[in-house]
Structure formats: C-alpha cells, structure tokens
C-alpha cells in the first residue's frame, strides 16, 4: 500500500482533519437518512415497533415476575391477574417466556444477519472490484448458493450439526448471504468506474486502500439496509427451524415456544394463549424490520428516490 498516494488522494494532508471531515460527512448522511426516514410512514411505523420490542428485550430482567424456567403443576391455566398470558404445558408463565424469548429471537436475528452480511459483503466487494476472473468465479459460487432452496439446505445442515443455538445462528448466517453479495457487487461495479477511483489508481493507490477508502463508504449504507431486511428473514428462519425441532430445546425463543405448543397439544387443549402471542410477536418484529428495511432501501436506492 502506498501511504503517500493516500495523502495526496484525499482532500487534506492532515490525518486528523481527514478523520474529522469523514465524520462530518457521515453525520450529514446519517442526518439526511433520518430526515427521510421520518418522512416515510412505513419506516416510522417499523422503527416504532422495533423500539418497543427493544425496550422489552432490554428491560426483561426488571419486569419478570416469574422465572420462565420454573415448572409448576398449574398446566394450561388461562390468562388471569397473576398470569397475564396464562401458563404453558409445564405450568410456566407464558408472559415471562414471551419477554425472555424476545431477547433470544432478536439476538439470533441480529447475529445471524451480521454473519450473513459480513460474508455477502466481502464476496460482493471482491467480486465487484476485481471483475474478470476472481469476480466471475465468486459470482458463480454465489449462484450455486442462490439456487439451492434455503430451508431444505438448512434443515439438512442443522440436522447433521445437531440442535443448538449456536448451530442455528451459524447455519442461518452462512446460508443467507447470496442476495447481499449480488447487491453489493453491482453497487461496487458502478462505483469502481467513477472518476475519483481512476484518479486514486492513477497516482498509485493500492487495491486495499481503494476498497477501504473509496468503495466501502459507498456500499456500506446499502449493506445497512440489506442487513435490516436480512434480520427479518433470520428471525423468521430461526422460528421455523425451532418449530421443526432443530432449535436448542432448552433455550426459550418464540420459535421454540411454538414448537412446544405444537407438540404439547396446546391447540387441542384450547390453550390459545400459548401459541397465539409468540406468533404475533414474530410477525410484528419481522414486519418492523421489513418496514424499516424497505424504507431505508427506498431512501438509499437512488433510482427509487428519484421522481
């Protein structure tokens, strides 16, 4: 990497000033995004839903009146003043489980999508930047994963890896990146051809430098919107895998609650309070992330914004 080239390519030669400048630009962009977001009803609703659940997830230990792991003989008790959402098949407080499950579901969603975006981002940037050989190869690799039906593939891998929280996160993260890498690649390819990159290259900037200083700042906002959408998918997928019995059976998530509700015959027992709330929570959180993600996408995708 060529340090001198770096200095010349940027606006100022003082590293401190450059950092300040970059921070300023970032803040301006964030403010603009936020301003646009507040104009978008969809984004606002999404944000509101997510904030509520975030508060719930963070505040869980302070509001829980029951230990979600405490077995009692009070099975399938309907909602009452003491058990707001009744009890489950082993007499645990459903409301407590629901709050506790919020943490797990959000955690799985965020972690898995972070893994996915990291993989997808790296592959997308490399494929977009290096074009020809490496790029083509990486894209064919992406195509393979894009065409494989995801849920069956995840079932296969998760079944072999054994049921655990960690495996679920890794499986979701490692198998849901292809769409990200495609989006990132196409963005990188448009940025690559811009004048300032030509200029940087002309004065001898290395690939690593160009990627870090010029490419990444231009694709990260897009990746951010994509991350939010992937969180929604990851939460849905986690609930599905858990429902099909591939989740960690000892960890309470909304998906595992539905799994236990299904196998413990909550439906025949008429215990709607056991299987309705977790599903509503999943749907709301996924909806929140989807709204937010689409709103972000609309803001950050220049073609959609132009009118």
């Amino acid at each position: 990497m060529n340090r001198t080239g770096t200095a010349a390519a940027d606006s100022g030669s003082n590293p401190m000033a450059r950092r300040v400048e970059r921070l300023r630009r970032l803040r301006v962009r964030a403010a603009k995004t936020l301003r646009l977001l507040t104009r978008s009803r969809m984004g606002l609703v999404g944000l509101a839903i997510l904030l509520i659940f975030l508060v719930i997830a963070v505040a869980v230990p302070f509001v829980l009146r029951f230990d979600p792991n405490d077995f009692t003989m009070n099975r399938f008790a309907p909602p009452s003043a003491s058990h707001w959402l009744g009890t489950d098949d082993v007499g645990r407080d459903v409301f407590a489980e629901l709050l506790y499950g919020a943490r797990v579901s959000l955690l799985v969603g965020v972690t898995a999508s972070a893994i996915s975006v990291a993989i997808g981002g790296v592959i997308g940037v490399l494929a977009g930047y290096f074009g020809r050989w490496i790029g083509e190869g990486l894209m064919r690799f992406t195509d393979i994963f894009l065409v494989i039906p995801q849920l069956p593939f995840m079932l296969l891998i998760a079944a072999l890896a054994g049921p655990s929280m960690f495996n679920i996160i890794v499986v979701i993260g490692a198998l849901s990146w292809p769409s990200t890498s495609r989006i990132v690649r196409s963005q990188v390819m448009t940025v690559r051809e811009r004048i300032f990159i030509e200029r940087a290259r002309a004065i001898g900037a290395g690939d690593g430098h160009i990627i870090r200083k010029h490419i990444l700042p231009n694709v990260i906002p897009l990746m951010f919107a994509n991350t939010i959408l992937i969180i929604a998918v990851a939460i849905l997928t986690e609930s599905t895998l858990a429902f099909l019995g591939l989740g960690d059976p000892l960890v309470i998530s909304w998906g595992s609650m539905l799994h236990y509700a299904f196998v413990s015959l909550a439906m025949s027992n008429g215990a709607w309070w056991y299987f309705v709330p977790p599903g509503v929570c999943i749907a709301l959180v996924v909806l929140g992330f989807t709204f937010l993600g689409y709103a972000m996408d609309e803001i950050l995708n220049p073609k959609l914004r132009r009118r």
Binding site: L36, R39, N69, F71, M73, R75, D89, V90, A159, G162, P163, S164, G245, D248, P249, L250, H259, Y260, F262, V263, S264, L265, M267, S268, N269, G270, R305, R307
Partner: protein, 625 residues
C-alpha cells in the same frame, strides 16, 4: 348460502371507497377484491353449515376400522423390522405356534396342544390341520421345522435367541413337530409366542443377504389378515382373511393411517376421521378426549419404560466418577420419579424401579427397597464418599482430583421433546447435590455413535420395550452384551450366573425368585435410573364399533392381537361405502376460483380498450421529498 354481514354500514363503506380511490375503474377493482373477500368468507360459512350435516352423513360405515398412529412400520420383513409397529404387522400376517392370552399367559394357537418330556428337553406340538397361507398353500409341520432351522442355521438375529438351544427339529406326519433342546430352557412357551411361522416354499432358496435385504412387501403368511396396500407415510390397508383357520375377524378391513403430528391425530379422532388410536394418545390430550361423549379413553400399563443409562464401563470414556456406585446412588436419591411422572407424563405412568417392565407383572419385583427422594441424604452420601466442593464453585470434585468435577452431559433423544423437560428438572435437583448437568438433545445416530464402540457418553435417556417374558429385559445387563445391548457397560459375574440359572429353570416360582434377585441387584447398583413405566393410552369412538379389547400394551399391539379380531359394527346396516356430502366444499372452492378470476379480469380488462374520460385520470400524488 347467505352473505355474511361484517358490520360495515353504508357510510363507512363510502368512506372506505373515498379513501384514495379516485376513479371508477379502480373502485371496480376494489369491489372485485371485496367480493373476493366476501366469497371466501361465505365459503367458510358454507363449511360451517356443513358441520351438522356431517354428523349424520359422515359416520364411518362398512366393516372398515380406521386406526390412527404416529409411527408406521419400517419394513414388513420379520427379520429386519426394528419397530413395535413392524412387529405388530408381522403378527397380523403370520401365526405363531402359541400366543399370549389377554392376561399375557401363553396359550394354544397354531399348536392346538403341546407336551413336554419329563426331562424338559423335548417339546411336541400338534398343529391345526386347516391352516393355509394366503397364496393357498397349506401350512404343514414341515414349514415349522423349516422356519426354526432357517433362523438357527443362518443365525438370523431377530429370533435367534428363541431357537439357539434347539438341537433338532423333526416332524411326524404333516401336523406334528418335535423340538429337542440341548439344555432345559425356561422360556420355551413365550419363545413360541414370538417366532412367526413362514412358508417354506417362499423362503427356502433365499440366502442370508437376500433375507436381510428383502422388503417383504407382499407378505405371504397364514395369519388372519392379508396386506392390501401400503402407501408409505400415508396408510396401510389390511383385509380380513374370511376363510381363516381360526375365528375370522368380523370386520372386512383395517386401515392404519399415519399422522405426522399428534394434533392432527387427536383432531382426526375427535372429527370421526378415525375410529381408534390404539396406544399413542399423549397424556396431555386425555382430559380433552375424556370430555367427548363419543370417545372412550383407556389407559393400561405398557411393556415399556424410559430410563437414564449411566456409563459404568471401566474401559470407556465419559466422566469416571460415574463408575462409583455411590455417585450413581446419590443421583438416584436426587431424582423424584413421582414428580417426573406428574410433570412429564401428567400422571399417566408409574414411577420406575427395576429393569423388568411392570406390565410383565408376574416377573416384576414390587418389593425392591427403593431409594427415597432425599436431597440431604444424597448430599450426605457424596460427602461420606469424599466428593467435596473443594473450590466452592457449587460443583463437587472427585476425592484427590480437584480438576475432576461432578459435571455430566445427559443426551436426550430429539424426537422426545417432552423428555427435555425431564432433563431440565434433573438439572435443578442435581444442582442441589453439587452436580452440574448439561442437557443435550441428540438424534439416535448421534447417541449410538457416542456409545458404540468406545462408550464415550456420560449418560443418556432411552427407552426399552419388552416382552411378557423378562428374558430380554434381563439380557441387557449381561457382561457379554457390552458393545451390544448393554449400553451402560455395567457388568457383574454373579448377575451373569443368575441369568444362565434362570434361563434353564423351568419351575416358574423358582425362576421368579432368581429374577427378583437380579432386579434388586441392578436397582441398587443403579446403572439404569428407570424413570417410569409408561402407560399405553388408547382411545376409541363408541359410535360405530364395539368389542375393543383393552390389554397391557394398549388397544392393539404385537401382543394385543384381539381387538382387530373381536371389534365389530354396532349396527350392521351402516356397512358399505363412505358417503360424504362434498357440496359445500365444492361451493367453497368454486367461490374462491370465481373471486380470483373476477379480480384478475377487473385488473386486466380495458387494456387498450375504451378508457374513462381523461379528466378522471390523474397521476399518483408525488412524494414531497
């Protein structure tokens, strides 16, 4: 069929229309959507109307008994099947020389009478003369001889234990079989209830490989039933053999329908889609079914228990502290089986004790001195044995080895989600005696790969089903079975001796005394923590059929062959075909299709055609950004 009113009045409706719909076409599209919604809803209403009608029309008729189950057989090959369902099917298609009666005592079957020589070595059976296989060939003594010899000579493991001591099998005429044993065997009568008699002309040219690879999809036997069809993971249909040599079944057909989840199974019985669930009714649905006046619920002990197998194999891996009997006893004292019964099996089971199934009531030892659930006694035992919590982290360490903690992993079969509850509860109790338990869900293959061949597990939760005779249940603990059935690696020379002794004791009382000793020894040594003797919970509808036989192992099993033979219609007139009024369903489907097509037409119509006035068209509002 009425269009339901969903409480929208005209004023609301016009507001709804003004809500962004600015031209007529669009309003039409919206109307089409609304109609679509209405039609779907009215279709649902039509289904609702169908319900009372169904009670009259959909009553199952004809002599077809519809059975629901949650697991189907793996194969119909008697030498390969590894499931209770498979063994039950084998009993439908094949006969045995003897059979268990309704109180699990061997009685005459193909053999109308049998005698034993005074030295107990020679057994003579006279078999029925009018039995024939489903391909029309008669069943003769030579088929019996062939079956026993084939199993012995090819050492076909499924029934090898039942014939291994036979030194010769001879026939006298077409209907007499003489079996000579090389030592006295205490289990001959129950062995003869197990071995299916096969047609020589079908099996005689098969090699061992061929036998083990056969799917036997068209089983030819002398049984009361004949296979009509088996659609995998859907249903098995069997037809009654009307000219059966014994008493032929009353019903014409039995259909075993496979359900992939319990909700659907229970629903099916409640809806009258099936008539009987022989033994797989989950405890959590018994109270629901009990409320249904058309359904009768039965419970009975099953020949089945679940246990925690603790790795005692001195040559194996796993945590070595488990090889100390004191640790195992402490774990046993810290396990409240009654609570587990109430919690996990909702009270529909019996707290477990010995390794013989309680349903084998003659052999099961009721007087074993049980460990009482007592956390402080368990703690005292561990203290006295030198297991102290040296580093005060809440988990005890082994005496003289501060790095060896009493920290174990319990493997639980993933297809038994309810047992995860057991694991969670054990975690709580055992924590109080300074034992750290990790519960891990695993499939059977994973557990097998831990156990075989090197015994690397700490402990795992498993289940064993037995036979009315306890031989098999006792065999598990033999030292010779380490690496095979003996999955805990426990062994004891005295126990092995007792086993051989009971096997050759023909006097039941004397044999039982030995078997009691064996049970007590294993209980005290605690290589298995037998958690509970499971209950076989069955349920059947009382509106069409009657004559169900409730036995240990449930309403229908490899032991209870009687329900299918004795069950019959309450009213003969209801026999015949299933007639169902599908009209409401047809209306519902057509309504949905029409609705969707209406929307599609509304959307695409007018393409390039006559347009509304230009003034009505106005562009969508711009986004102000």
């Amino acid at each position: 069929m009425s269009i339901p009113n969903f409480g929208i009045n005209a004023a609301d409706f016009s507001t709804l229309c003004e809500w962004g719909f600015t031209d007529l076409k669009e309003r039409k599209a919206f109307f089409a959507m609304l109609v679509c919604a209405m039609m779907v809803l009215s279709a649902m209403a039509a289904l609702g109307i169908a319900k009372p009608a169904r009670a009259q029309n959909e009553i199952p008729t004809g002599g077809t008994l519809r059975i629901g189950w949650l697991q189907e057989q793996d194969t119909l090959n008697p030498f390969v099947t590894n499931t209770v369902q498979g063994r039950m099917m084998v009993k439908l298609f094949y006969d045995t020389l003897l059979r268990w009666n309704k109180t699990l005592v061997p009685e005459a079957n193909l053999a109308t009478n049998w005698t034993t020589s005074t030295d107990g070595l020679t057994w003579t059976y006279d078999i029925v003369q009018n039995a024939k296989f489903s391909d029309g060939q008669p069943l003769k003594a030579s088929d019996v001889k062939f079956t026993f010899e084939m199993i012995r000579n090819l050492s076909l493991s499924a029934y090898y234990d039942q014939v291994k001591f036979m030194s010769s099998v001879t026939t006298s005429g077409d209907y007499r079989v003489i079996v000579v044993y090389n030592k006295t065997v205490g289990t001959v009568a129950s062995d003869m209830c197990l071995v299916p008699i096969l047609p020589e002309h079908i099996w005689k040219d098969m090699t061992k490989n061929e036998i083990l690879a056969a799917t036997n999809d068209n089983p030819i036997g002398s049984g009361a039933w004949k296979l009509e069809s088996w659609t995998k993971q859907t249903s098995v249909v069997v037809d009654a053999v009307k000219d059966y040599w014994g008493t032929a079944p009353y019903i014409d057909k039995a259909v075993f329908t496979y359900y992939s989840n319990t909700e659907a199974l229970i629903n099916a019985l409640k809806n009258g889609e099936i008539d009987i669930i022989p033994k797989e009714v989950p405890a959590s649905s018994l109270s629901v079914l009990n409320q249904d006046t058309d359904i009768k619920v039965t419970t009975n002990t099953d020949l089945y228990y679940r246990e925690i197998s603790i790795n005692c194999n001195p040559a194996g891996g796993g945590n070595p502290t488990l090889r100390d009997v004191n640790v195992r006893q402490a774990l046993a004292m810290a396990t409240d089986k009654q609570t587990l019964v109430d919690l996990v099996q909702l009270g529909y089971a019996t707290p477990g004790s010995t390794i013989v199934q309680k349903a084998a009531s003659y052999w099961w030892d009721p007087d074993v001195d049980l460990f009482q659930f007592n956390i402080s006694k368990a703690n005292a035992l561990l203290n006295a044995s030198g297991y102290l919590d040296v580093d005060s982290d809440g988990v005890r360490e082994a005496p003289g080895n501060a790095s060896l903690e009493l920290s174990y992993t319990l493997l639980v079969l993933s297809r038994w989600p309810e047992e995860m509850r057991t694991g969670q509860q054990l975690q709580t109790w055992w924590k109080e005696i300074g034992v750290d338990l990790t519960v891990q869900s695993a499939d059977a293959n994973t557990i097998n790969s831990y156990v075989y061949p090197s015994y690397n597990q700490d402990m795992f939760l498993w289940g064993y089903s037995g036979q009315p005779d306890p031989s098999f249940s006792l065999l598990i603990m033999l030292s010779t079975q380490v690496g095979d059935w003996n999955d805990c690696g426990w062994s004891n020379a005295t126990y092995d001796q007792w086993y051989d002794q009971q096997a050759t004791t023909t006097d039941p009382v004397a044999r039982r005394t030995i078997i009691y000793q064996m049970q007590e020894m294993v209980y005290n040594q605690s290589p298995y923590l037998v958690l509970y003797y499971m209950s076989a919970n069955g349920a059947y509808r009382i509106d069409t059929f009657t004559g169900f036989v409730n036995m240990p192992t449930g309403l229908n099993s490899d032991v209870n062959i009687y329900t299918l033979r004795e069950v019959h219609l309450i009213k003969a007139t209801s026999g015949g075909t299933t007639t169902t009024d599908y009209t409401p369903w047809a209306i519902a489907i057509i309504a949905i299709i029409v609705a969707v097509v209406a929307v599609a037409v509304a959307m695409t119509r007018g393409k390039g055609g006559k347009e509304a006035k230009g003034s009505e068209d106005k562009p969508a509002p711009e986004k102000k950004a």
